[in-house]
């Protein structure tokens, strides 16, 4: 059994284990244990990957395993990772681990909750390890469908509406992706030879530009729906707000990165010429996402909605950077995916903990919580500072890299949109600091909240895991960015052949 397939097998074993248990305590322990093993495996993978690269292995993808599945259509089960995938796998395992602890107190149909959550996680892991388009698509859809049950059963507020809207819109995105994938497949052998679903093989072929101009927009929009591309982002605020805590963490933290990763790995990597020609349309849309998402967050009164719009803004920034198509910007995009993933997971975890205590998410009903629950408040402040890009935390590293990379383009268009996107830093600061001020600082405004308990042990585990990762990337980003930069070489070479910036 190769190490990569283990990332899909371990969740399935955990699910099987949970299905046979009836006691809630045991269910939680098995889930935590399983995802703990997954986290350790991710660490092992990072270590193995770095040592392989250090030993001089310069293959595009490492740890490749290939099994022929449907020979008539040349569909394989192929897995492999490069630095970017490894980073995303590490992110996912961190967020899932933290999510299990954040949902420690789910008491309604606990078994089914953890089964659905881990099923979702397995779909995400499968997505990141696959390099065959069919398998990627299979795992992508597998990751979307448990959302319906997770939000519909365990959510709050207009949960049925949000769940249905989210599921239908995300599947709509996968509709676009499917047509795009079939287009790529049938154009993957323009000079004769076998058609292929394998990403590495297709990347060595030049898909005819006419086909690229049709299928690049389809694929990019398809992944963009998940990555909060304006105007397809409307599932996100309601979906995140109605979802239970761990589901929001997983969704904003990891699932939305599927969109960014897919856009990068499938749309741009395989169709770079069309990406270069058509990028201006999507750059405009993504910069609207960034700015509009930030403005949207300012007017919200519900904590979760603020965070949801903030996620729209930050994930829009990922797509924005990926479309800039130069090494620095793409490096920044990947770091932003990881940084925002950790950060938004942290945010949603904290909001869930606050909600569990105060039973409200409206900012004007809470106030002065810093004196009452200092641990959680301090963590919230740290999360906020990471979001607005304070140096020393990961948000700064990511955003700075992105904006420097984006500004490298000399044309006026790129510089203008970069300036527009940079303005989002200020807007982010407004809504973050405003919430911190109203919520945490100052005198206590609601006497019902004067006897709240501070974080329990499982909440502390969850929050500290994420904060330490955010700080680690913020203080010492070099190991991460060099791992990514090496893996960006294949696509950067393709892009430089098209345009130098």
């Amino acid at each position: 059994m190769d190490i990569l397939t283990l990332f899909v097998v371990i969740p399935f074993l955990t699910i099987t284990g949970i299905l046979f248990l009836n006691d809630t305590r045991q269910v939680r322990l098995v889930a935590a244990f399983g995802m703990g093993i997954q986290l350790i495996m991710a660490g092992v993978l990072v270590f193995l990957y770095l040592s392989a690269r250090h030993a001089g292995n310069t293959d595009e993808m490492l740890f490749i395993r290939d099994h022929l599945w449907f020979s008539s259509l040349n569909i394989h089960y192929t897995v492999g990772v490069d630095g970017i995938s490894v980073a995303m796998i590490a992110l996912t395992s961190l967020v899932v681990f933290a999510g299990i602890f954040a949902s420690w107190e789910v008491d309604f149909l606990t078994k089914e909750f953890f089964v659905s959550l881990i099923l979702l996680a397995s779909g995400v892991f499968g997505f990141f390890i696959s390099i065959d388009l069919f398998t990627i698509f299979l795992f992508y859809e597998l990751a979307v469908i448990p959302m319906y049950l997770l939000i519909g059963i365990w959510g709050t507020g207009p949960k049925e509406y949000s769940a249905m809207k989210l599921t239908l819109m995300l599947m709509g995105g996968s509709a676009f992706i499917l047509v795009g994938l079939l287009g790529i497949y049938f154009n993957s052998a323009p000079d004769g030879g076998r058609l292929s679903f394998n990403i590495l093989e297709i990347s060595k072929v030049n898909i005819p530009i006419a086909a690229q101009r049709i299928f690049f927009p389809l694929t990019f929009i398809g992944f963009g729906v998940l990555g909060a591309l304006f105007p397809f982002h409307t599932w996100s605020p309601d979906g995140h707000a109605s979802a239970p805590t761990a589901v929001s963490m997983l969704h904003a933290g990891v699932l939305m990165k599927l969109g960014g990763y897919g856009a990068f790995r499938v749309a741009i990597f395989l169709m770079p010429q069309a990406a270069h020609q058509l990028s201006w349309i999507f750059i405009i849309l993504t910069s609207i996402s960034v700015v509009y998402g930030a403005f949207g967050a300012i007017v919200q009164k519900d904590l979760k909605y603020i965070n949801a719009y903030s996620s729209v803004s930050h994930c829009g920034l990922v797509l924005f950077a990926v479309l800039m198509m130069n090494q620095t910007a793409m490096n920044g995009a990947i770091i932003q995916m990881i940084s925002h993933g950790l950060m938004t997971a942290l945010f949603f975890a904290l909001i869930g903990m606050l909600y569990g205590r105060t039973h409200t998410r409206m900012i004007n009903e809470m106030g002065g919580l810093m004196k009452i629950i200092p641990f959680l408040s301090v963590c919230y402040v740290i999360a906020g500072l990471a979001s607005l890009g304070l140096p020393g935390l990961s948000g700064f590293v990511a955003e700075m890299t992105i904006f420097v990379g984006a500004f490298q383009h000399p044309e006026l268009f790129y510089r203008v949109v970069t300036i527009m996107a940079v303005s989002s830093i200020v807007i982010t600061a407004v809504y973050i600091l405003r919430v911190v001020a109203i919520l945490l600082l100052g005198p206590t405004t609601n006497e019902h909240h004067e006897h709240l308990t501070d974080a329990k042990w499982f909440e502390k585990v969850s929050v500290i895991t994420l904060i330490s990762s955010v700080a680690a990337i913020g203080l010492a980003p070099y190991w991460l960015s060099s791992m990514i930069r090496v893996s960006l070489h294949p696509i950067v070479e393709k892009i430089i052949a098209i345009s130098p910036f």
């Binding site: 599945w69 599947m171 079939l182 497949y185």
Partner: protein, 473 residues
């Protein structure tokens, strides 16, 4: 008639023997112990279904009127599996008092339709095709009216027989024009005499219209909802899966072998009808409350997706159609199996009566969810693979816009399938259907359906075997 010839016709002969054996069992059984006939019929059909897979001779008989090949035997075997599942699911329903007098009639009529379908699939001559078609249709009309105590059942039977008669008439008119222009009815000879003249195109249109009725393609679908709702639920499942599947099989064989000259014409026809079928089937399914009507409209839209496999005229297309029918048999019979079990136990057939089903009957809810996801095309169940291959077949010949419309329709269908999932898992109900235990045969049939849904996708050997037996235009 040598032994070799008997063996070539073995599928039909076994089925006819089975029908006679059931008839004799009826004569020799004591009136109080009629249930034995039900078990006996199930065992007979199980033997036939398994025996069908044993490789044997294939060839032509009766001067080319009857023809078997690996492809057609595969199609017959798939239908046998589906019929076996329907038989197993019927046994519990037949235990009821009002049905106990007509057990052997039920099985004899069903086996007769199977014989008709087998002959239809093995036809090499339009007359054999028509005889098979009629033999497949008329007993079902009698079965639709099986339930003497409900007016709707009689209404369903009459609607079915009248619509069938009309569509057969149209079909025959088309066939007569084919004879008029080519002078022969043998498939291969008609194919070689096809010139694509206007009269032949008209003949094709009439032929397609007659067949479209059988497959419930828009705009020939109007009989479907009422007949499915009025018939007893087992007959509904048989109609939606086996009857439709057989018609689709023979249609694809005839289109690919007899009409390849006018490929462009039938591609246009299928394009338009496919878009109409998927869209209208989906839009009407959204509003349905009765589960039988709901599954009727859902199966109308499924026929629309299957037409995508026809449109390319390629080998992958035929393979994906055959594969999808197999997957569709498991998925639809899984969904119907749950509906049958709940209907037998409580008589409830409306979606809002299914609210809160997960809390009382989790197993049935999960099986229903799995079947609905397979119908919707969600991974990792087999329906995803089936739909993917259909879309790939259409995309191979450049019909990307059609694939896009199909995928959008899949999303719309996901909405109404999720409505049932929502009812079972999310909606609250103080008077939910009570917990009941199903008997062994129901559980067995549902287990086979679940195994089929789970395994048919991942086991690539099934699709590859089907593809090896398929052929293109």
């Amino acid at each position: 008639m040598s032994l070799e010839n008997f063996l070539i016709m073995r599928h039909e002969l076994f089925l006819m023997a089975a029908a006679l054996l059931v008839l004799m069992a009826e004569i020799f059984t004591h009136p109080d112990r009629k249930m034995k006939i039900a078990n006996f019929s199930v065992i007979l059909l199980a033997i036939i279904a398994i025996a069908g897979f044993i490789p044997g001779a294939s060839g032509t008989l009766f001067g080319g009127m009857y023809e078997t090949s690996g492809t057609r035997i595969l199609m017959k075997n798939i239908l046998n599996i589906g019929a076996l599942l329907v038989f197993i699911q019927s046994v519990t329903w037949l235990k009821k008092e009002e049905n106990a007098e007509k057990i052997s009639e039920y099985f004899i009529l069903l086996i007769s339709t199977l014989v008709g379908m087998n002959f239809m699939i093995s036809s090499g001559h339009f007359l054999m095709f028509y005889i098979g078609l009629e033999l497949a249709t008329i007993p079902i009309a009698a079965l639709s009216a099986y339930d003497r105590y409900r007016n709707q059942s009689a209404e369903a039977g009459i609607k079915l027989i009248l619509s069938s008669a009309l569509s057969s008439g149209i079909l025959l008119y088309g066939l007569s024009m084919i004879y008029g222009t080519t002078g022969t009815f043998y498939f291969h000879e008609v194919a070689s005499h096809m010139t694509g003249s206007n009269l032949q195109i008209l003949a094709f249109i009439f032929f397609f219209a007659g067949m479209a009725f059988k497959i419930s393609i828009v705009p020939f679908h109007l009989w479907t909802a009422d007949v499915y709702e009025g018939s007893p639920v087992n007959i509904t499942s048989y109609l939606s899966v086996i009857s439709k599947g057989a018609a689709i099989f023979i249609l694809i064989i005839i289109l690919f072998t007899v009409f390849p000259v006018i490929l462009a014409t039938w591609q246009k026809t299928i394009y338009v009808t496919s878009v109409l079928t998927m869209t209208i089937g989906n839009l009407f399914a959204i509003r349905q409350q009765n589960l039988k009507r709901f599954l009727a409209f859902s199966s109308i839209s499924q026929a629309g997706y299957i037409l995508l496999g026809f449109i390319g005229g390629n080998q992958l297309g035929m393979a994906s159609v055959i594969y999808y029918i197999l997957v569709y048999i498991f998925s639809n019979l899984g969904a119907f199996g749950v509906v049958i079990a709940i209907s037998n136990a409580s008589g409830k057939e409306n979606i809002n009566e299914y609210n809160g089903l997960y809390h009382t009957n989790p197993g049935l809810s999960l099986i229903m969810t799995l079947s609905l996801f397979s119908l919707a095309g969600i991974p990792p169940v087999a329906g995803f693979f089936g739909k993917f291959f259909l879309f790939t077949a259409a995309a191979e010949k450049g019909f990307y816009l059609l694939v896009f419309i199909a995928v959008v329709n899949t999303i719309i269908s996901l909405y109404y399938y999720l409505l049932i999932v929502k009812a079972m898992f999310i909606n609250k109900n103080e008077m939910a259907i009570e917990k009941f235990k199903s008997d062994f045969l129901t559980k067995f049939a549902l287990a086979i359906c679940v195994a089929g849904i789970a395994a048919t996708g991942f086991a690539s050997i099934i699709f590859e075997a089907i593809r090896n037996l398929s052929f293109g235009v």
